[in-house]
């Protein structure tokens, strides 16, 4: 697959390769586009605006004043249009310039009809009445064209056209609402390629950047995308999967390029492209291609509210219509203002200790051949591959300094996380934040090391060589991502040390928190080897709620909000377990069996994981998915040497590199 930012010629080459591999219909299915993007549309509009031929401009969503390439000067032209109307969910650069602004409804407040890329149809139903007086895009368009109609009527009208027979229409409507989707009749496309153009497409390729001709790569940000999610504090505070930066973007440079330019992380530089310049800090990330500067888009917003404003730098100032994503010849000038603090959530980037140079086997990562070779020779009773790597001695020689819980009744909860499947997308972190009412704390507090995420993604670089500080010195790196939350240790070090017993073990193996009982000595967090506990150093909930009146309505009513001075952490979504327990009891009144079925209680992180890397369930049931996962020979516990007996274990990451590509 070719990335969407690549120019058409690269796409052509990609299609040709897939054709050669005979991929169509087997590993790759092409569907007809519903809404083909036409290059040059915006340029055409801008051309007409320049000539003064646009008297009225209606903008449905979007933020063209911010994200149209700067050389088109959309913002300046917009200000000159006599009647400009923006339908927008929130204030932004465009609403600032538009003559009229119409508040748009949120998609969860509106009726609509949606089609997926494969043609699947779904009816969009509102989950809530609009919180403020607003209109949806279809309602707005219908207003412009005729009498005012609401979204429901518009959708029903469309169905009327689709199914003239009233009874059948009603049947299909109800069925689609019930099923959620209606399968599409769209047929896959099998493209035919004209190979003639390929050689010229190949000939047009850009030369690799050199040290005198640096390449600038404008990237869509992992959190705020092109800036459209900039007002979402969850996303602003979500650490980038690789750089671990929050609340900012930066000029990302590889180790070698940064070394050659004499730059370090947080140094301010001035990038210039022609006569356009942008001053921003540098962040050194191993693995960025040599002589390339990666610049995430979507930051440096204005007129966009307290969350988006002041976060990062507007990379769009170097984004031209001729080179929207890649351009060579960018110049780097050392800034005079010194440095700029960037809030990263991970200070140490590898599993290698400074000074001693020793490796800590925290996240096990190996090649398929290493794994197979060991497992083949493994004798009965010997540790599996992953445990051999992760712990220094066998379990029988380990002892915990804390007593193991003896009371184990009911279902025993456990979790297995597959490192081979984890792609580091961060969905678990945000899902957890939404489910458990976890506060965002802002850049200053992230800089203070006080971010509140209950599940975080630990990112480790691995390379051939490391410096004295234990950081990688090469750009040829492997990255391993390890989701880390409370491990629900059976011999939990945190429980022993709490003077008031605010954290205690449940008979089902959960390490529970009694928030009301916590007095905030923070001893538990000190003694947690996984540093999975977070503390309310300030009244973050109150601070957050003060930023917008709607935030208090967003909280999950099943989970308490925490006051300042209280420790908090993951509890395997105990509220969901209890919810499932109640359901099971109700069902049990009919069937006589009242245990939670495997898969009936999903943790929030598990539910959203796109690769299903997280499996949760009852480990005492040998047939549960989690028990089956834990029986794999890739299963290991982090810091098993401490004998904390964590209920969360991991499956080692096994890579299968192609030796010909290595």
């Amino acid at each position: 697959m070719v990335g969407e930012r690549q120019p058409p010629r690269v796409h052509a080459l990609g299609y040709a390769l897939n054709q050669l591999l005979d991929a169509y219909g087997r590993t790759l299915t092409l569907m007809p586009a519903l809404d083909p993007r036409i290059d040059g549309e915006i340029e055409a509009l801008v051309g007409e605006m320049k000539q003064g031929r646009v008297k009225t401009l209606v903008m449905l969503g979007g933020n063209p004043a911010y994200d149209v390439p700067v050389d088109l000067e959309f913002g300046e032209l917009l200000a000159k249009i006599p009647t400009s109307i923006a339908l927008s969910l929130c204030e932004n650069e465009t609403t600032q310039l538009a003559r009229w602004v119409v508040p748009a409804s949120h998609y969860l407040e509106t009726w609509g009809e949606l089609r997926a890329t494969d043609g699947t149809l779904t009816i969009q139903q509102p989950l809530i009445r609009p919180l403020v007086e607003s209109v949806s895009a279809i309602e707005f368009v219908s207003w412009l064209m005729g009498p005012r109609r609401d979204g429901y009527a518009l959708v029903r009208q469309r169905w009327k056209a689709r199914y003239p027979n009233k009874a059948y229409r009603e049947l299909m409507w109800r069925r689609t609402l019930h099923d959620g989707v209606q399968r599409s009749d769209d047929k896959a496309i099998f493209p035919t390629l004209r190979y003639g153009g390929l050689s010229s497409a190949y000939a047009q390729r850009q030369a690799a950047p050199t040290k005198d001709n640096l390449e600038l790569c404008l990237a869509l940000d992992n959190s705020v995308y092109d800036g459209r999610f900039g007002s979402n504090a969850w996303l602003q505070e979500l650490p980038d999967p690789v750089t671990k930066l929050t609340w900012d973007n930066a000029a990302l440079l590889g180790v070698a390029t940064a070394g050659r330019l004499g730059l370090q992380s947080e140094d301010l530089v001035e990038l210039s492209l022609g006569d356009r310049t942008l001053a921003l800090p540098v962040w050194v990330v191993p693995g960025v291609a040599e002589n390339t500067i990666v610049l995430p888009l979507g930051y440096g917003r204005q007129h966009s509210g307290v969350v988006a404003e002041g976060a990062g730098f507007n990379s769009a100032r170097l984004r031209l219509s001729t080179s929207p994503f890649f351009v060579q010849g960018v110049k780097v000038k050392r800034g005079v203002r010194g440095s700029y603090p960037l809030a990263s959530t991970q200070a140490h980037g590898t599993m290698v200790e400074p000074h001693t140079g020793k490796d800590r086997p925290v996240a096990v990562d190996a090649t398929l051949s290493e794994y197979r070779a060991y497992e083949k020779k493994r004798k009965k009773g010997e540790r599996n591959f992953a445990r051999k790597r992760a712990q220094s001695v066998p379990d029988s020689q380990l002892q915990s300094i804390y007593k193991e819980t003896t009371v184990k009744t009911g279902q025993q909860w456990g979790m297995s996380i597959d490192l081979s499947s984890c792609i580091g997308c961060n969905a678990c972190t945000v899902a957890c934040q939404a489910e458990n009412n976890i506060s965002t704390v802002g850049k200053k507090e992230v800089l203070n090391g006080r971010e509140m995420h209950w599940i975080r993604l630990d990112r480790y670089f691995e390379a051939e060589s490391y410096d004295a500080e234990g950081e990688v010195t090469l750009d040829d790196v492997q990255v391993i991502t390890q989701p880390m939350a409370c491990q629900q240790c059976e011999t939990a070090p945190c429980e022993n040390v709490c003077p008031v017993g605010a954290t205690a073990h449940s008979p089902e193996g959960l390490n529970d928190m009694a928030y009301n009982r916590c007095i905030g000595t923070r001893y538990c967090a000190n003694n947690c080897p996984y540093k999975a506990r977070t503390f309310n150093f300030f009244n973050y909930t109150k601070r957050e709620d003060a930023t917008h009146p709607l935030l208090a309505m967003q909280r999950n009513p099943d989970v308490t909000v925490r006051f300042r001075g209280v420790m908090e952490k993951c509890t395997y979504c105990v509220q969901r377990i209890n919810g499932a327990k109640i359901d099971a009891k109700v069902r049990g009144q009919r069937t006589g069996k009242s245990v939670i079925r495997d898969g009936a209680a999903l943790t929030a992180c598990q539910q959203v994981c796109p690769t299903q890397a997280i499996v949760f369930g009852d480990i005492s049931d040998p047939n549960s998915a989690v028990a089956r996962h834990k029986r794999q020979t890739r299963d290991f516990a982090v810091l098993a040497d401490l004998r904390t007996l964590p209920r969360t274990t991991y499956l080692a990451q096994i890579r299968n590199p192609n030796p010909e590509l290595a």
Binding site: H348, K358, R360, G470, P499, G501, R522, Y523, F563, R564
Partner: protein, 481 residues
């Protein structure tokens, strides 16, 4: 440093080798009345300008503590520099520092009393007062450093309608008991020892207010033989009771660290190491204060160079013990082959906080070595400078233990740094304000030397002056010396 009242010959005799004979503990005017006059003078005279200035500055510093604490209660722990890997910072360092300081008092009054070390009489009151005030400072930290201070009473085993008890497995709870009991016993011991002297002040009082106030606190002491008999028995019992506390308090404080799982904290050597460190720092603090007080209040004939030298010897001994402990930590880290432990040591010595570690080594291990030299032990300036260095070094020891262990523990992903904020600094400076305010009040209103005990230690207090079997002290004193 000797005042003109002390002759050179006497001064020399006072410092003579104890093996060849015991010199008198006091110099100059050794008459009973002379001692009473000297000790009572600061309490009975109009406060000097120096005292007033000292008091005002101390109260101002204490005011800073009150304000910063008020803001802390209002805003939350976030005003400090603590963060996620480093959940304990200066507050806990300060707590352990002050608990350590508090050790000298009880050691001097109780342990040396049981060992019949008579030289203690000149300094014990002072050291005990220091103990009480240091415990007050120490206890203020665990109080204010919890996240929800208004629920602090939950750490006490108070019967309640919900039937919830504190967690008796937690070392923090042991701490609550240990330090509270230590503070109480030290206070009772101090007060009991002061009763005869309070009676002296009452008897000398010229105003009605003083008569009544000292009269109440003197508990009707008339100095009868029966009084003395009961008093001495009670004092002995309390000394015996306080002695194990000297060992237990800091052992239990060390459990806060040793019971945890953290590399650099989870160490069996901690209890004796902490106790030795506490005595070390406590003596250093007594020395610092004593050098100033004996000069300011002209007590050089009561607290002689010999007293200071003895304290220097205790400092040298305990300093060697903690040097051994530092060395043993490194040895065990290597010998034990625990990778986390050895990294923790490497990180202390070479990591981002290496400067703190080396300040600790220089101040606590290298600086006291000068006390091998007699001239250094007898030089007030050297004693003062070294005692200050040790105070600094011992604070850094607690900082190194607390912060460097926490900032890089098990998972490299969670490592972080710590830096104090203005409010951390204000809390430390402010606690000195609290300490000095209490001290200023003490030297203004209470006898800072145990007059009755000093008098009982005089050669002439022995009825069988020179003829008593076991008393080498009396025989060696000889009035002609």
């Amino acid at each position: 440093m000797a005042t003109p009242r002390v002759s050179a010959v006497e001064h020399e005799a006072n410092l003579s080798d104890p093996l060849s004979g015991r010199a008198p503990l006091l110099l100059g005017d050794r008459s009973l009345h002379g001692i009473t006059k000297a000790v009572c003078r600061p309490v009975e005279c109009v406060p000097s300008r120096a005292w007033t200035l000292f008091f005002v500055v101390s109260v101002a510093m204490m005011g800073l503590y009150v304000l910063t604490t008020a803001y802390l209660f209002y805003e939350g722990i976030g005003i400090w520099g603590v963060n996620n890997p480093v959940n304990w910072g200066w507050a806990i360092s300060n707590f352990v520092f002050w608990v350590g300081i508090s050790h000298a008092g009880t050691l001097i009054s109780a342990v040396l009393y049981l060992f019949r070390q008579k030289w203690r009489t000149s300094i014990n009151r002072f050291a005990e007062a220091m103990t009480i005030f240091a415990v007050v400072c120490a206890l203020s930290y665990p109080t204010i450093h919890v996240g929800r201070v208004w629920l602090l009473h939950w750490v006490f085993p108070i019967p309640n309608q919900m039937g919830t008890w504190p967690n008796f497995r937690s070392p923090l709870l042991w701490d609550v008991f240990a330090v509270t009991i230590y503070g109480l016993v030290s206070f009772i011991f101090w007060y009991l020892g002061m009763i005869p002297d309070l009676a002296t002040l009452r008897d000398r009082a010229k105003t009605r207010a003083r008569k009544i106030t000292y009269g109440i606190f003197a508990l009707g002491w008339r100095g009868s033989t029966r009084h003395w008999k009961h008093y001495e028995r009670a004092y002995l019992l309390l000394a015996a009771l306080a002695t194990p506390l000297v060992l237990s308090v800091h052992s239990i404080v060390s459990f806060d660290f040793a019971i945890s799982q953290l590399p650099g904290w989870h160490t069996t050597i901690f209890p004796p190491y902490f106790v030795a460190g506490a005595v070390f720092s406590g003596f250093a603090m007594v020395l610092t204060l004593m050098v100033i007080a004996r000069w300011a209040f002209k007590f050089e004939h009561i607290v002689t160079i010999r007293h200071l030298e003895n304290m220097a010897k205790v400092i040298l001994l305990t300093g060697m013990i903690i040097a051994y402990a530092y060395g043993m930590e490194l040895f065990i880290a290597w010998y034990g082959q625990n990778p986390y432990e050895s990294f923790s040591c490497a990180n202390r010595a070479f990591g981002p906080y290496a400067w703190a570690y080396w300040i600790m080594i220089v101040c606590n291990v290298i600086a006291p070595q000068i006390f091998w030299f007699k001239r250094a032990r007898q030089n007030v300036v050297v004693l003062f400078v070294v005692s200050i260095l040790i105070n600094i070094g011992m604070w850094f020891e607690r900082f190194v233990i607390t912060v460097t262990s926490l900032h890089r523990d098990f998972l490299p992903s969670s490592w972080g740094d710590y830096s104090p904020t203005f409010f951390d600094v204000a809390a430390l400076v402010g606690s000195f304000g609290l300490f000095f305010t209490l001290f200023a009040l003490f030297i203004r209103y209470l006898p800072m030397v145990a007059m009755s005990e000093v008098k009982a230690g005089l050669p002439e207090a022995k009825p069988h002056h020179g003829a008593e079997g076991g008393s080498r002290e009396a025989s060696a004193t000889g009035e002609g010396a």
